[in-house]
């Protein structure tokens, strides 16, 4: 009996703490886990930056099973966490069901559009960023052959590849683009060995610049490219520092910014579709001291010009996902 009272006491204490931290934001990672060197980790970095700057805390959970998606959403919502940020398209279905049940709570979903009044859908124009680095690749290439290594073969990655190919062709219409996907399962996001093998294969086909849009797999791509003495292009965050002087640039997809902004906005989070493109700094290419020597003035001028044209709408980069086809590259 005494044990029971003790237990219920503990429950009460716990409930109390739970109540006290209400209204703090929450972040739900997809099944890949927090430290996937890619998408989820970028989101975590954004949240961390917010926490460091504000001194506030946030809730987070790494999922174990599909069924927990809805569970995590509801439990956070019931707990009063606001806003609730989630990474990955896989939450789309679930969020569409859950969001109407908690109208007071703001949700932010990345890489997916959910049309609910209290949801902010953050999508990135990866094809635009890829277009820019494609141009740079074509200009840096001496052989006229450039490579693309994707992670899991999903439309999103084809979107990367398609934008990249368009950029390459814009500079050199005769350029040869070798594109490979690492795999068809989520394991493809974290297979640096296979990334390395694919890089070597592409080098043997003449590629001298390789763009890796493959999460953790990209680490192997960049490493091998550096070892073999060719140039590589990083993705998502700025990966130039990994191999200074050997990474041509990185296609920046600011997931961290998206999370950071959502948390900063707090309960005042603006809902609706938030397209992060070149125009609003959601995507871009990285230029820092590690690759300054590689990027010629001519190159930079061309890219910046294209950047401005895209931002102004003057130049339309084809989005693979709009019609599941790519004019510049066949898969």
């Amino acid at each position: 009996m005494t044990l029971m009272t003790k237990l219920s006491g503990a429950v009460a204490a716990l409930a109390l703490t739970a109540g006290a931290v209400a209204a703090e934001p929450a972040l739900i990672f997809d099944l890949g886990g927090k430290f996937d060197k890619s998408f989820n980790e970028a989101a975590f970095n954004g949240a961390k930056r917010w926490a460091e700057e504000t001194g506030d805390s946030f809730r987070e959970i790494e999922l174990q099973s599909e069924a927990q998606r809805e569970q995590a959403l509801r439990r956070f919502a019931e707990n009063g966490n606001n806003p609730i940020v989630m990474t990955g398209f896989a939450f789309g279905n679930v969020l569409a069901e859950v969001a109407p049940d908690y109208p007071e709570t703001k949700f932010a979903i990345i890489d997916m559009v959910v049309d609910e009044p209290n949801v902010r859908s953050v999508v990135f124009n990866e094809h635009e960023g890829s277009y820019l680095v494609g141009m740079m690749a074509a200009m840096a290439s001496e052989s006229g052959t450039v490579g693309f290594i994707g992670g899991m073969d999903i439309p999103l990655i084809r979107k990367f590849a398609c934008g990249y190919a368009q950029g390459v062709k814009a500079i050199n219409p005769d350029a040869n683009i070798v594109a490979n996907m690492t795999g068809t399962t989520p394991a493809a996001w974290n297979d640096p060995v296979k990334g390395s093998e694919l890089t070597k294969a592409q080098i043997s086909q003449g590629a001298d610049v390789v763009y890796a849009a493959a999460g953790g797999t990209g680490v192997g791509v960049l490493q091998t490219a550096a070892d073999e003495g060719i140039l590589s292009i990083g993705v998502d965050s700025n990966q130039n520092y990994l191999h200074p002087g050997q990474v041509l640039t990185s296609m920046m997809k600011r997931v961290d910014n998206a999370v950071y902004e959502a948390m900063t906005a707090g309960t005042d989070l603006e809902t609706g579709i938030n397209v992060m493109g070149i125009a609003n700094g959601g995507v871009g290419y990285a230029l820092d001291e590690h690759n300054a020597e590689l990027v010629s003035a001519e190159m930079q001028a061309a890219v910046d010009a294209a950047s401005a044209q895209i931002a102004s709408g003057e130049l339309q980069v084809h989005d693979y996902m709009s019609d599941d086809s790519c004019p510049a590259l066949s898969f």
Partner: protein, 376 residues
């Protein structure tokens, strides 16, 4: 001479195993600087104190009942069906095909059809290892575990290349049509005034699982086939003497086992996700082994063990939500329970048998038997 009474075997051994697992888990939690009692409370509160918590607990338990029964039936024929995972995956394929390509008029007709399809697909996946075991002596453990990999690869191929809708990101089928959506506990038990099981994935397949418990019990203990399965499981040589065909029993027991494992997919695929995703089984096939071991291959035991593991899963999710215990350590805790209840069964049983033997030896002189009273 039975070494200890039945109740001790059925209740005391698992209980002590659980307590040992709990103690070790508590040490793990203390090790990372959290409070084990608070953590336990959190698990109980999250899994059992709210109807939605129960909704999740029962949802997981439904998975484990199916896979636990699958392993148990094979156990009775002394076969170690490690392939529940793969059979459930292929069973999921059966569910998906049935739901996507047959225009069902309503959910219960769809459930019957999908159940048949899931069982058929699961059974067929178990048939090949069963046949190899019966006819060629290939060890069922090796073949079934290998078939798990083949099932995963096959499912991967089918999802990525065939069933994935145009333009979809993740390797999954399209959503099943509305008519095939199964009623969840929320739909069944909520009233306007009192919403129950809100958002929880537990659905009508839980009752199907309970029905299967009853059917398996009848099968094993009341039918001729069950009699033959058990006889074969205890002694193949005696089975041959009695004219029971080892080939037939091996194949039939594995078909039933595979069918039950396949039906697990009803819960995750048709009941919860309403589409087939790549990792729909989430290891339930393996948990089924621990469930069957802990449940002594008896349907009632399987049911109770499945509830326990459902609680662990749901409680684990709650821990992940509200504490800083990392996901990996929650898996460690769950694994400890499996280890103690499943694999280390004899570690508890043997000393306990000795205790019972020594108590029985001189029960009258020192009335030691009286001391066992409270333990019951």
């Amino acid at each position: 001479m039975d070494k200890m009474p039945g109740w001790a075997d059925a209740v005391l051994v698992p209980l002590i195993s659980l307590i040992l697992a709990a103690i070790l888990s508590a040490l793990v939690i203390i090790g990372i600087g959290e409070d084990p009692i608070a953590a336990f409370n959190l698990m109980v509160e999250g899994a059992l104190m709210r109807s939605s918590g129960w909704g999740y607990t029962l949802y997981y338990a439904t998975n484990f009942i199916f896979t636990g029964l699958a392993v148990a039936v094979a156990f009775h024929a002394r076969m170690f069906n490690i392939g529940g995972e793969g059979q459930a995956m292929i069973g999921g394929l059966g569910v998906a095909l049935a739901c996507l390509y047959i225009p069902w008029p309503n959910w219960y007709v769809a459930l019957i059809g999908a159940t048949a399809s899931a069982a058929l697909f699961g059974a067929m996946w178990a048939l090949i290892p069963a046949y190899l075991q019966a006819k060629r002596g290939s060890h069922i453990v090796i073949t079934t575990i290998m078939f798990n990999f083949i099932a995963a690869a096959l499912l991967n191929y089918v999802l990525v290349n065939i069933l994935r809708p145009q333009g979809a990101m993740d390797p999954a089928t399209a959503r099943f049509p509305e008519a095939t959506h199964l009623p969840t506990f929320q739909d069944m038990f909520s009233t306007a005034a009192a919403p129950m099981f809100r958002g929880a994935p537990a659905n009508v397949t839980f009752f199907l699982a309970l029905l299967m418990c009853v059917l398996v019990w009848f099968l094993i203990w009341r039918t001729r086939l069950g009699y033959e399965i058990r006889a074969f499981g205890h002694s193949e040589s005696a089975a041959k003497y009695a004219g029971i065909s080892p080939v037939k029993i091996t194949v039939v027991a594995m078909l039933i086992s595979g069918g039950l494992a396949g039906m697990m997919a009803l819960n995750t695929t048709m009941g919860e996700a309403e589409r087939l995703v790549m990792n729909a089984t989430e290891g339930a096939g393996f948990i089924g082994i621990a469930v069957a071991l802990m449940g002594r291959s008896h349907p009632l035991g399987v049911l109770l063990a499945a509830l326990l593991f459902g609680f662990l899963y749901q409680g684990g999710a709650e821990l992940a939500l509200w504490t800083n215990i990392p996901r990996e350590l929650i898996v460690v805790i769950q694994a400890l329970v499996i280890l103690f209840t499943g694999a280390l069964d004899n570690m508890v049983r043997m000393p306990l048998e000795k205790v019972f033997l020594s108590m029985r030896r001189a029960p009258k002189p020192d009335k030691r038997s009286a001391q066992t009273g409270p333990a019951e």
